[in-house]
């Protein structure tokens, strides 16, 4: 072929030059563990459901279904969870953590409004599982077991399902129609619920079932010995809240003292105020910093005018008054008496000193170990007796609704493995997506949205819900504050910033980009400009 003057070669594209040979490291798409997921006691994949929710519209239902994979109570969680996810959220280092809890509540409420339901998508296994206790842990286990095709019976000692979600958490924090809606959804999966069916002897029932999950909770209010006059009015917080739920209004008088510093003490004091007490005082033997109640509960109590007497113990209870003693903290932070006595006017004293579990049903169960009044379990939630699992407040972990729900899920997974004889699915925990793995330049400045709260006058006199929900635009805004830590969210930055066109955009869901190793020189720009830290450099074998 004739070529122009001085031209001897055919023209070619530089694509013949495979610059990938220069590379000593290659970028690899990765999924790191977002801190919110890492902190969630119920094991929710929060980053994944926020990702769905960020789209709005049809994304809300996908987001809700993603929550339901792990947790059957989105609307309840969005009200009562103490959201350790928000404490762990990386966005807290940038401006303020994402309001995960308020988005979850929006999705949960949306599901109730729209009537979204879940189904059992596997054939029945023919295995029968007994769940004892219809609290958060028992219901969570029942839900997950039912979705795995097992035949589940829940035996509940009380007259209604919900456990501490009904008999411990007051209505102003969790309206009962929300609780009922989410419990109803579990029963609609075919879970059999037997109410007023207290199990007093587990061994007598055990053989009728292939496995048992114990979730009886802890409802016995701890008593402290306090000398009291004959006309003194004392009651325990757990029975007070329970009685109120079953329609019995306790007579507390005008001035109410609550003894204890936990969440139950806050609930008792706030409830007393709503029942007409003009003054509710929390008496706690240590100071505020040592108080086990969650900050949000303390704040809400303070807003409602609850008073606090720190570093104080109660020595004697009489009609209309308490004798109290000032305490001081020693070097180890333990309160020591000072001998200084005072009087405090109080018409009644509510004890909120913690709860014990009624373990009488476990008499004669072989191999079962009880320590400090709680049942010991392994990582698989199984007790020392094969086939009997336990979770929730009756095992030694932090006591909260979310922890209990997480126990139910973990127990269900392991019961499923136990029944099928297979090893449980291994738990994969990738490396944490810490703040320094992100490139936060790319996130828009976006201050957090606050949930509206009920005005104070109505909080003090009614049981109306205190913290209100976000509307759709707010919830969407809040979901979009998520930084998607450690997981690709299709921002196209890697595709954009590669100087060598060595990132191929596939544009398919779940399969977004591919590194073209023929041309990737290993510069690492895609890694450093990935907002979410979802790419990492891996050395080549040379």
């Amino acid at each position: 072929m004739d070529k122009p003057f001085a031209i001897t070669l055919d023209i070619g594209s530089s694509r013949a030059n495979k610059t990938g040979a220069w590379r000593t490291e290659r970028p690899v798409y990765t999924n790191r563990m977002p801190p919110c997921n890492d902190a969630c006691p119920a094991g929710e994949n929060i980053q994944a459901w926020l990702y769905e929710g960020e789209e709005g519209g049809a994304g809300y239902e996908r987001a809700w279904r993603q929550i339901m994979v792990d947790n059957p109570f989105p609307a309840i969680m969005g009200r009562v969870c103490y959201h350790p996810c928000e404490t762990a959220c990386n966005r807290g280092n940038l401006d303020e953590s994402v309001g995960i809890n308020s988005v979850e509540r929006f999705l949960g409420d949306e599901a109730i409004r729209q009537g979204w339901t879940v189904t059992v998508d596997v054939p029945p296994t023919g295995k029968r599982v007994l769940v004892i206790g219809a609290g958060p842990s028992g219901l969570s286990a029942a839900y997950h077991l039912a979705r795995r095709g097992h035949d589940v019976t829940v035996k509940e000692a009380g007259p209604m399902a919900g456990g501490m979600m009904r008999f411990g958490i007051p209505k102003y924090r969790l309206p009962r129609e929300v609780l009922d809606a989410e419990v109803r959804r579990i029963l609609d999966l075919g879970v059999r619920l037997e109410l007023d069916a207290k199990v007093s002897d587990l061994m007598a029932l055990k053989d009728e079932y292939d496995a048992v999950f114990l979730a009886v909770g802890a409802q016995l209010g701890k008593r402290a010995y306090i000398p009291a006059g004959s006309a003194a009015k004392m009651l325990d917080a757990v029975s007070m809240l329970r009685d109120l739920e079953t329609g019995e209004k306790p007579l507390l008088g005008r001035r109410v003292a609550v003894y204890g510093g936990g969440n139950t003490a806050m609930d008792a004091a706030r409830t007393a105020k709503r029942l007409g007490a003009s003054e509710a005082v929390v008496v706690y033997r240590r100071n505020k910093d040592k108080m086990p109640a969650h900050e949000s509960e303390f704040m809400e109590a303070t807003e409602e005018g609850i008073l606090f007497k720190w570093l104080t113990t109660i020595k004697h209870v009489d009609e209309g008054r308490l004798v109290i003693e000032k305490m001081e903290l020693d070097e180890s932070g333990f309160p020591q008496p000072t001998g200084e006595l005072e009087e405090l006017e109080a018409d009644s004293l509510v004890l909120a000193l913690g709860q014990d579990t009624d373990l009488s049903l476990l008499d004669g169960v072989p191999g079962l170990v009880v320590e400090d009044g709680v049942v010991m379990v392994g990582r698989d939630m199984m007790t020392g007796c094969p086939g009997i699992f336990a979770g929730g407040d009756m095992v030694p972990f932090e006591r909260s609704v979310t922890v209990a729900v997480g126990h139910g899920k973990r127990a269900a997974k392991n019961i499923d493995a136990y029944l099928s004889g297979a090893a449980p699915e291994p738990v994969v925990r990738p490396a944490l997506a810490s703040y320094d793995t992100l490139n936060t330049w790319y996130y828009s400045d976006a201050p957090r949205t606050r949930r509206p709260v009920l005005e104070r006058a109505r909080r003090e006199s009614t049981f109306d819900e205190v913290v209100l929900g976000l509307d759709e635009s707010n919830a969407l805004y809040e979901a979009r504050r998520c930084m998607s830590c450690g997981n690709c969210f299709s921002c196209d930055n890697c595709y954009g910033v590669c100087p060598d066109n060595a990132v191929i955009k596939l544009g398919r869901p779940g399969e977004k980009y591919l590194i073209d190793l023929d041309y990737c020189k290993g510069c690492g720009l895609c890694v450093s400009e990935c907002p979410a830290g979802a790419i990492q450099m891996v050395p080549e074998e040379i």
Binding site: I7, L9, D10, I11, G12, S13, S14, R15, A16, N17, K18, T19, W22, E54, E55, E96, W441, Y442, Y443, S444, D445, A446, P447, R448, T449, R450, R451, P452, L470, S473, N474, Y477, R480, R481, C482, M483, F489, S490, C491, D492, N493, Y495, G496, V497, P499, D500, N501, A502, K505, G507, D516, D518, Y519, K521, C523, G524, L525, V527, S528, E529
Partner: protein, 349 residues
């Protein structure tokens, strides 16, 4: 920022794509069908800012002209690494003649197209800082004063890089190059020399002058598209870090561009007919040390025998840019649909 920000939270328009935006609102670089004017297999170094900048600019220009355009290139890294005979990385009509005549050749191409009645075909001239501010400067000024219908783009990496990192008229003070004093009390380029060509281009009162960096893709694409709406001479000066010549990590190219803007070292603005019309304000202001310490060409300013006095002079230069171009944003409150919000500590978007 000159281009229209989209107030959508998460990443808004900071990233290339963003699945939450309509495809039309995403950048050219986020499109699967982008023209890839400078395709794979070129021999630019790892993390080359110039290769990235050239693709950003030309892909945006290709989109703005619907593919009807010609590129004219002066000698420099960009020409050398893209066209070792007989291979070419260019996926558009592309012409190279000499080091010093790029703007003149581009003006000639535009004149020829006009003579043939094809002024629907647009011309983009491009060069590095050597071919623009030094060797091609006479032809560039001529192209400007005749108001020839060419968009000329300078990819400024602050030196002659493919010949071994020599000083150019765009090399900043104190930066070490192969031919600035390597030893002595004050190694590196001297203060008081060099030129800022965007300001000289503005002095020609041509229709459009803009500066940009490879860190702000949306802004750069906006400026290229806007430039293509004008007829006559237009000039865009793009800041493109050079990992090799600056002694920086290849993965820091975009970070360095971002820091050049956020420190005030490189002012980002646009001007029409000699007047500044928009500036990109600093979003998170940082001291110049954050920019300087990532580059070995400034290493002599730090460490035990450091030169805080020189660093202070560089800071003063940046502060002068900030004052001269008004690079600090008036405090805007970020607006969101929230019920009640805390105001974030950071500056407005």
């Amino acid at each position: 920022m000159a281009h229209q920000e989209i107030k959508l939270y998460q990443t808004g328009t900071f990233v290339a794509g963003n699945r939450l935006l309509d495809p039309e609102q995403r950048s050219v670089q986020a499109r699967m069908g982008r023209s890839n004017s400078l395709t794979s297999g070129h021999r630019a170094c790892q993390g080359c800012g110039e290769a990235l900048g050239a693709r950003y600019v030309l892909d945006a220009a290709m989109r703005a002209t619907d593919g009807k355009m010609v590129a004219v290139n002066s000698t420099g890294c960009l020409e050398v690494f893209s066209t070792p005979y007989p291979e070419s990385s260019w996926q558009l009509p592309w012409l190279h003649s000499l080091f010093g005549n790029g703007p003149a050749v581009a003006a000639g191409v535009a004149a020829a197209l006009k003579a043939k009645g094809r002024d629907d075909i647009r011309v983009v001239g491009q060069a590095g800082d050597g071919g623009t501010v030094d060797i091609g400067f006479g032809t560039l000024s001529g192209m400007f004063e005749r108001n020839d219908d060419v968009l000329f783009v300078c990819y400024d990496n602050e030196g002659y890089m493919n010949t071994g990192v020599q000083r150019s008229g765009a090399t900043p003070p104190a930066a070490r190059t192969a031919n600035t004093k390597p030893v002595g009390d004050e190694p590196g380029n001297v203060f008081g020399q060099g030129k800022f060509v965007p300001a000289i281009a503005m002095a020609h009162e041509i229709p459009y002058v803009a500066t940009a960096t490879v860190a702000e893709l949306r802004d750069l694409e906006y400026k290229v598209e806007k430039a293509m709406t004008f007829r006559g001479a237009r000039y865009i000066h793009v800041f493109v870090p050079c990992p090799l010549g600056w002694g920086a990590a290849s993965s820091d190219t975009i970070r360095l561009s971002r820091l050049a803007k956020e420190t005030g070292v490189f002012p980002v603005f646009e001007a029409e007919h000699g007047e500044v019309t928009e500036v990109s304000t600093i979003r998170r202001r940082v001291p110049v040390e954050e920019y300087l310490t990532l580059q070995k060409r400034y290493a002599h300013l730090f460490g035990p025998a450091g030169r805080p006095d020189i660093v202070a002079r560089l800071q003063a230069t940046a502060d002068r840019n900030i004052a001269r171009y008004g690079l600090l944003a008036p405090d805007e409150e970020p607006a969101g649909p929230g019920v009640a919000q805390d105001v974030a500590g950071e500056g407005a978007v």
